[in-house]
């Protein structure tokens, strides 16, 4: 019942040899450019829009202003007003009209200006975007992307630092990806646009411009639903994604240098689907796990990860699994947000507790 024709139709080729790894696996010989995540996302958009005239970019201030984070830089100029659209100020309007555009064969990329305003479109996502294929038994599909700046750490005002990944991941019918660096951001956004189903792309705004990475000349895609080992290790598995990958890698360095603990860091890249095999393979190897994410703990992705480990690998576990997460409070206004967010120090102490259990 899989719609293979459609897969081919939109040029989707999730061939494994195109799959790229995390920062640790940049080994192919190619021309490379040093890009920030913002530039890498911009590159992905530009590439796909050049290849496929059905791809549209729409949202608040994505045109002449080129996006409040400049992710859509140059797009209006190159692709014109019909394909790069400054919409009126209504999030449900963006997503809802994009559902209609999908029915006319377009591939809309919707920008929510901030994570915190994506809730305004929630009923359209819940009620139509994720249901259209199933409801119509494949007559209509929703190959749209909803992308948004995600998470805290940029000292923004209220509603600009939310982490809604569990909320979206819980909604069957969506895919939810969270890049952790420029290269995988470009590859995941491309994969998301080419994917025949709706994909929510949560772009960790804290690392939009935090560092550069080499990005090859040729477009890449990554398979959605697969994570990567961001750092191999043997003593404890730390599972994370998005901006927290950097935090965790930092913690892993400290664990190695100061405590002789060799942590394996799993970068999930996608929380729906989630890479069950990778998680369990790593935990079976290390026997210990810590989960790190910046959203609320209660009913967050962390709980799901723990449940997956318990379901498949309980007997390998040598210690309770700790969750280092945002607390179950409103994320504080920015003066105090760093105390709310997981920090490398919090990760180190959770990992040590787990290892020393």
């Amino acid at each position: 019942m899989t719609d293979v024709a459609l897969l081919v139709d939109v040029g989707l080729s999730f061939r494994d040899d195109l799959g790229i790894g995390g920062p640790a696996r940049l080994d192919r010989k190619q021309a490379m450019a040093q890009l920030t995540m913002v530039k890498a996302l911009n590159l992905a958009l530009t590439e796909v829009m050049r290849e496929n005239p059905n791809v549209m970019m729409m949202g608040q201030d994505v045109g002449i202003d080129e996006g409040v984070f400049r992710v859509t830089e140059g797009l209006l100029k190159e692709f014109g007003e019909d394909r790069v659209v400054d919409t009126p100020l209504a999030e449900a309007g963006i997503v809802g009209s994009a559902v209609g555009l999908c029915m006319k064969g377009f591939l809309p990329v919707c920008e929510m200006q901030f994570d915190g305003f994506s809730y305004q479109a929630f009923h359209q996502v819940e009620g139509h975007v994720r249901r259209l294929r199933n409801r119509t038994r494949g007559r209509f599909t929703c190959p749209m992307v909803i992308r948004m700046p995600y998470g805290g750490g940029i000292r923004a005002i209220e509603h600009h630092s939310e982490a809604p990944e569990a909320t979206y991941a819980h909604l069957a019918g969506l895919k939810v990806v969270l890049p952790s660096g420029p290269r995988n951001a470009r590859a995941l956004l491309r994969a998301a646009i080419l994917d025949p189903d709706p994909v929510v792309v949560l772009e960790p705004k804290a690392i939009y411009r935090a560092f550069r990475e080499e990005v090859p000349d040729a477009p890449e895609t990554m398979p959605i639903g697969k994570g990567v080992i961001a750092r191999p290790g043997k003593d404890v598995t730390i599972i994370t994604y998005a901006a927290m990958v950097r935090t965790v890698l930092e913690a892993a360095e400290e664990l190695a240098e100061e405590h002789g603990v060799d942590a394996e860091v799993v970068d999930l890249l996608s929380v729906a689907p989630i890479d069950n095999d990778l998680i369990n393979a790593s935990v079976r190897k290390t026997g210990r796990a810590v989960v790190v994410h910046e959203s609320y703990r209660h009913c967050g992705v962390g709980g799901e990860i723990v449940a997956r480990i318990v379901e498949d690998s309980l007997m390998y576990l040598e210690a309770p699994i700790k969750r280092v997460t945002g607390y179950d409070t409103i994320i504080p206004f920015f003066a105090n947000e760093q105390n709310w967010l997981p920090s490398s120090a919090k990760v180190v102490s959770a990992a040590l507790e787990t290892v020393r259990f």
Binding site: T2, L7, V95, V99, L101, R133, N134, T136, R137
Partner: protein, 370 residues
Amino acid sequence: MPRDTVPIPGKIEKIEILSHDGKLDTKLEPKLPDADLRKLFRYMLFTRMLDERCLHLQRQGRIGTYGPCKGQEATPLGVAYHLRKEDWFVPSYRELSGFLWRGWPVDRYMLWWGGHEIGSSIPPEVNDTPICVPIASQVQYAAGIAWGAKLRKDGTVVACFCGDGGTSEGDFHEGMNYATVFKVPLVMIVQNNQWAISVPRHKQTASQTIAQKAVAYGIDAMIVDGNDILAVLVAAKEAIDKARNGGGPTLIEAITYRLSMHTTADDPKKYRSEAEVKSWEAKDPLPRFRDYLRKKKLLDEKIEAVMEEDIRNELDTAVAKYEQYRHDPYAMFDYMYAQMTPELARQKQELKAALGGDVAPQRETARTHG
């Protein structure tokens, strides 16, 4: 002008052609081929009879809760008549006459109310969207389809429907705003049937008419007697032509009445008077149109009897087809994504195990559970 009254831009036109007591405005009367008039009547009658049949099926537990459309047959039909095949018909859930005109198979309609997704699977040759349950949410995708039509420059038009209650939702507003800002080929028809379940029109909005909401979006509106198919035909043609010619959206308020209950789960006696219902029964679109056609000698009792008989047979066939439908208990996993995820494959196996292995497509009547 330091203090002045500013004229309100916009225009609202009101159209009635065939009154409920048979008065006809011959100057405005649309000139349709006789065959088309008779065909329209047949669809109206078919709708009425199918609606009754569904009520019957519901009472027998052969479909689930049912939402009748009695009294509202004229408007969707009059609009659908002027749509081309390539155009789009975007309904709410009370547009049965339009579905039928557009070619939606009768058994699919029953399958929808019988609890089967296949009832939402519009045949590939029909540009309809399925029944839409979340009120007014369809206005948003209707605007999007019409926007797409404009971008494709394919000359197609979108006709979208919602109820009087639907105009209160944020989605109505946002959809109308997008449609008008992008000036897309959308005809937005509000079937003002006076009630949103138990909430009367005057508690739904303080505006004197629904039509005047068009002013908020800088477009013109029409008010039609939605029980007068001739008026609907005229209004719809103008709005559709305008949309097709790049004139942008029109809002049509069709004044009508839900003669039956909201759904079979509803008891309208709780909130509205018999007298009110009676007064609207006198305005029923069906006898009105029949009398008009009889006067035109396009119908008589004999023709009607044959028609009814034919329809009854068609309905019998459709019911039989509906009841033969066997659904695949595992299909819930198959249409979630183009490619099934490993997790869903695992869960599909779980269900197989729970059902004791691969189970053949099932026949579950509405009575099987609960």
